[in-house]
Symmetry: D2
Subunit: 491 residues, 4 copies
């Protein structure tokens, strides 16, 4: 966590967002399983850019390739893809904080079990992984990574059950947390969503083959059809016999899908839990315009995540939508600003105010969230320096004042601007003439509900409300990061 904050502080390209930690993909029954997996991961690159991996199975052997970097680079070589033989594969994109960007943490992880090999990857976070890890180490399990996925692997290895599926159920019943996982063994492809369905996982079909993916865009890119979501608490087992469904956690509980997937994480062209992400974001913009109107000349999105909400705000308010901020598409992660003298230029490497347009105007900036406030401050300053007469900021999420423990990288709570100031103080901090957030009820309305049901809310909205639906077992026992004694990494 400390490392991550460090990065947030010094990286000039920090866009001050929460960050999704992963994407998973799986396919069974396709002659080019690895290639299709690479394409699917590529479509979900926004969910994790630090590392990717694919494990394939050719009915005899498993093959893997995992590396730090982006999908397009890692799987650009025909050699790599052609060595990933077989008709079944799973793959993973990883977002990771600085200190953990070690190759051994790159998923899918693989283990040689008594029943044969098994590869596994997941999107989410286990909230009792340290407890389980300690117990496993005590009985002789050796951990090779700091990934919570490895906890599941050791639970599988030490289970007394016989089959892969039985061991998987045995393992997952001991686990607490938010997860959508894909696993591959000689017995088939397995997909599981945690009982509350916090993270997404969908089922697709491409010809005769079955696909699992975190987002439906992965189906679009390969021309596959969306079939349905994996249900919260459902395990699907896919093999030559087709798709079987199991409910290892008993009765269905009310789901708590992550609302931030709709606000920021997912691609606008995805469909989550039956809702078009693009439409939800536009409706949030319309609600926001209704809740917090202001007199101005133009509505400007902070590109690219603010665009749909800005369109909605524009339509509802009748003010023209304009590209007042232009994004540089060539920003990578490697650019180092050479000296202090020009350090303050950071944000401009990514965004530039369209001075010729902005000069003299009263502008409404629409963005999706404010985390620590660093980027917002720079953007307001940049727009003002470009000659804006007034700068009003509208945010398409409620104030984020709680950390996430379910698979999203967030700063410690005391770094969150919304936990340090009220809205007026935040406006002052970022230098805006006015600032408004969508209300929590407005957000639920945009999602098609009457408002937030305080007893059984339809979504996990813990980052706004502090209402954590899954117990934070490790967290309640102290700073977990320091419990890990694993060997210090040398890059």
């Amino acid at each position: 966590m400390a490392d991550h904050d460090e990065m947030l502080t010094t990286n000039p390209f920090d866009d001050d967002h929460f960050h999704e930690e992963c994407a998973v993909f799986g396919i069974f029954g396709h002659t080019e399983a690895a290639a299709v997996t690479a394409l699917g991961l590529h479509a979900m690159q926004h969910r994790g850019q630090e590392a990717s991996g694919i494990v394939s199975f050719d009915r005899d052997q498993f093959h893997d390739h995992r590396a730090l970097g982006q999908v397009g680079t890692i799987f650009s070589s025909k050699d790599v893809i052609s060595r990933l033989k077989g008709t079944a594969a799973i793959g993973h994109n990883r977002y990771a904080t600085t200190g953990e960007v070690a190759l051994r943490n790159v998923q899918p992880l693989y283990g040689d079990f008594e029943f044969g090999g098994l590869a596994i990857c997941h999107n989410g976070n286990l909230t009792n992984s340290f407890q389980l890890r300690s117990q496993l180490v005590r009985r002789g399990s050796l951990f090779q990574s700091t990934s919570d996925t490895e906890v599941i692997i050791h639970l599988l290895a030490t289970s007394l059950r016989r089959t892969v599926v039985e061991r998987m159920i045995d393992a997952l019943r001991q686990v607490e947390g938010a997860y959508s996982l894909a696993a591959l063994s000689k017995d088939g492809l397995i997909g599981v969503r945690d009982p509350l369905g916090v993270r997404p996982l969908s089922i697709g079909r491409l010809g005769d083959s079955w696909i699992l993916a975190s987002e439906t865009v992965a189906f679009d890119i390969i021309g596959a059809d969306f079939v349905r979501d994996v249900d919260p608490g459902e395990m699907v087992i896919i093999n030559e016999a087709g798709l079987q469904s199991i409910r290892p956690f008993g009765l269905k509980r009310p789901a708590r899908f992550c609302v931030f997937e709709h606000i920021y994480f997912a691609r606008p062209d995805s469909v989550l839990d039956g809702r078009s992400v693009y439409e939800v974001r536009k409706r949030i913009g319309r609600e926001l315009a209704k809740e917090s109107p202001i007199e101005a000349d133009t509505v400007i999105p902070v590109p690219d995540s603010g665009v749909p909400a800005a369109l909605g705000y524009s339509v509802e308010s009748g003010l023209p939508f304009e590209l007042g901020i232009v994004r540089n598409h060539y920003v990578g992660r490697t650019f180092i600003e050479p000296t202090d003298q020009i350090r303050h230029l950071g944000v401009k490497l990514k965004h530039n105010a369209n001075r010729a347009f902005i000069e003299g105007k009263r502008v409404i900036l629409v963005d999706d969230s404010i985390v620590r406030g660093t980027t917002s401050t720079k953007i307001v300053e940049m727009v003002r320096a470009a000659g804006a007469r007034e700068v009003h900021v509208r945010i398409s999420s409620p104030p984020t004042n709680h950390s996430c423990f379910y698979g999203i990288a967030t700063p410690e709570r005391d770094k969150l601007l919304a936990s340090r100031f009220d809205v007026e103080g935040m406006a002052e901090y970022i230098g805006a003439d006015s600032l408004a957030f969508i209300s929590i009820d407005g957000l639920y309305r945009a999602l098609g509900l009457a408002g937030r049901d305080p007893v059984t809310p339809a979504f996990c909205d813990a980052c706004f409300t502090g209402d954590y639906p899954i117990p934070l077992l490790d967290h309640d026992q102290g700073n977990v990061a320091t419990q890990l004694s694993l060997i210090a990494e040398i890059a």
Copy 2:
């Protein structure tokens, strides 16, 4: 050219556009000259992504670093920047066709002259470089590259004049073509624009230092002020004595600025020849809506270059502007599609139709140009596959049916869709229900003129009209590429 076409054919990320060949940047009198140059080049990355170089001068020695790749990667190391000592520097981004991506062609080029060292780079293309090259070889000059910039260097070396400036004038008077160049010697920074001012070059100020850049966005990113454009046919000499202006080509002729810079090449947040690129593009969209209206449900830009014209079309037509196509921001150049079976997925790696939105709608797609028609065909097909009821295409440039010889990479004429079909045939080819281009007069109207003056048009529009304002001396004598006997390259 053959190589380039090869690339256009096989690269799945080909976006079927004309490609700008270069950006130049120069600075004099800044303690962090190289760092500022790297930032300026970064802001102009869209003008050339294959290679970049910087040469700096510390009043005693020249220092250089040139490499293939993007600015952010090449200059990411503090070591590199800190070795580029000095208070003056020039830099260059290069777009290059496959066969010429050799390090020795990466600008700035450098030579050791009798008067000392000189580095030089330019944006544009000389139309008599092969004639000059042949003459120079005949008299004993040895060429190390296939770059036309080296022709200028040898003209400088063999000039009988004494000073750098006199030799530069001597050299440029022998040269025909479109060019905006920056040169650095111990006597200062020199900027020159060809007599017709085909390519852009602007002057900026940052504190006490002077800056030259191809586009004004380079000033924005470093917080510099735009002073004025270098005039067509003007040479500026910048040193401790300030900025001096010379007109080496005699009387001012009517300028012929490249109109395609406004349509596609330049960033929308640049100001070219006094016009905001963003505003021009929006006005083209409005003209297009007036000229070619159609009944439909929505206006969808082909991202990102089609966005401003689509906004203009939306405003003029009253039809809603929507993000019906989503761009994947993680597309690099290295992704290889593994097999034939999935080759046709190419365009989707970059663009995805927002199926949830598009389904059942009559859509107007707005794009900036159609070159060979490959991408347009795939996009129309993709949008139709996403369920669009009708697909109408509107293009914010006139049909491009002539090659460019002034510094833009274009296919051979017979590969241009507009030279193979009339508009109706093109519509059929790309599979659109209707297709319309802005008229040449409509384009000039969007630029604030009454229309195109057939005698002295205000812009170079040769790619639309075949009216080439600078003689194509090499081209008229045969295929120049085969005249080069330079050693075959080994990557």
Copy 3:
């Protein structure tokens, strides 16, 4: 094994020798522990050139760096060495067959145990590792490598004993094989030699620090003093309290040190089990001259391993020792012969006959061993082509007609020339006018004994005699390589 043979066949630099599989080094109590370890490994590079690793301990954390390649390259960076903090370290050089050159197999291996971290590496081979591995997998241990060292790690992890030393004893008592190991935990540096002491391990002293190394040359290079060998079956524990000695395997059995270390593996400047390797080799040469004299003009060593025996042969026979074959010192492992036409040149890349000297002479070539006969055949042919009138070959080992299972890479038995032909047939095969090997008794005489005691021979000479002193448990149960189902490697 198959892979290794493959390599022997196609690698032009194959010198057709048995290959040592490893070197180990450990140090405790030195402020530059990692740097000294790198130097020690460098002195023992001949024992393994494929990969190296170091793990250091700074009383708080462990640090590691492991890579494929040679010591000089892997540890050439000051950054790497300075990150390997601490006053204790262990290191390892690895020889490996092609299929196993995976980073995860590079030692030292490391594990996080209940008692803290522990790193371990060894030289040798366990003969029941597959049996143990199967049992461990069955009870839930997950293996990450194919290294037999990992078997020891899991035995440590699952031991019910409390301390590191108790667990180590517990683990090693379950293990069969030849090994000299070094381990590092927070409780100190541990060195162990198997009960028969097949592989070497010596103790040195540098100031206040203690050192363990496979060969005494590692002491010379760092200016350390040789103290004594670790005894067969002895465990030494080194920490702040000094060096403690334990005998975990009970009563001392007669040792069986590997005789091939004296013949070929060890450096001539090492002292093994109290004998100077250089002197032993010269004495073998003298015995060989006594046993197999021949009329000739000159004695020529096959460089460099044949030099000491050739010197002995020269002295005893009175024939002049001459450099008739010159070795190219710049032969690396990466040179690929481009085509079939010149494939046969392989041996000459490494050795060249000194034609001006050899022409017209009757020569005696002295080499250390003949494994498959490929190199010998080429060398005889080369010397003959250089004009030798007669070519007599003398070998300073008995015929090698059994594979080694104690840590030496040897071809399958049916590939060994000595198992396919008698000496006369071998002479014909390699094209020599005469061929002779030292007798087994002559070899023992050169080692200072009366001859080989058939009941309790003083050395392990299984490769000559088939007398295996340690049970070959895995081997007796089938081809072990195929029992490993670990994920297929992608380099």
Copy 4:
């Protein structure tokens, strides 16, 4: 030069020798010209290890590959070799001082001339290259490298003669210095040796193809036959018509072949100017034993260059030749000693005293030369530390007290130990009980002459005598290195 000294000071692997600067190779009429060239360069790796290059010609185009590093690495890829198409090729190995290890200096250099392309490389050094360079720059030639080979290229380019051969003669008549060069144009392969024949160049035959090589070992490795040496002052032109000989410098002058080639540079298995290098070195050893006998127990060579002279000394003196110093074959250039504390270990990384043998003995160390004395000092110290009772040093060359300007890297004169001390002082400096050098007449006797003819000595022995047979034009005008203003290098 300063840079080179710097390297001599800090490189722990400095062996304190003069260093040969290059090897050249050429072949005409072989279907695998590039592959054979790579093998030839590999056999001559000892003449230059910093960089290598090959240019081939396929009757239509030239192809090149040049890189820093060793031959085995640079040409290890089949791709590289297969791209070097054609039946003719030239190649070059380069030794270079630190400051000049830039890729653009790696030979062969290539130029595009009016008559077509030409590639050229040479072994040696021009003594008027700066004079010529200045004149060429003044008339408009642009230099890309600091290599003196480029002077020849520009002389070729600016020559008014018509054919390649005429221009080559024209160019070489303006040049002073020691050189053996190979050039390749569409008209054939050209080989030239300077009028005094200072550097070697031999002609070989492989089937129907002709070969040029610096040393005859290059013929051995590829199975070619040695035909004859290129004569001093001879130019050979090889093409489909066969080999033609021209004498462009008029009457034959008495040759002055470099005597140091015999002492140290050449491989012992080469034949230079009709003499076997190995035999010459042994005879030097015998002369040395006659001139400077001493009572001792053993003769020990400093490996590997001291071996032949030590053998000769042993035979003449009757004292046994022994491997008292063992060389580590795995020493590369990249090993960095981490800290001051262990810096003094440098020499031991390469050499180790065979302590078990040396202890208590009176030893005679035989080495080929003493340059600055640094290595000798360390070796004497090491041998003494290993327990030698007396250490006597015998050197198989006369004292080297003059720099070389004919293609050998030597320290400035005041760094040469022999120019600072007399022999007794040198003995004291290196810590030897006695020290003796071969006399200059003894050296000539070993070469088969009666002694050195003071009027027309048969060899260039300037490094011993200061008798420079070719005028040092640049040198006599000041420190030439500072005249080069070429751009500062960034690695």
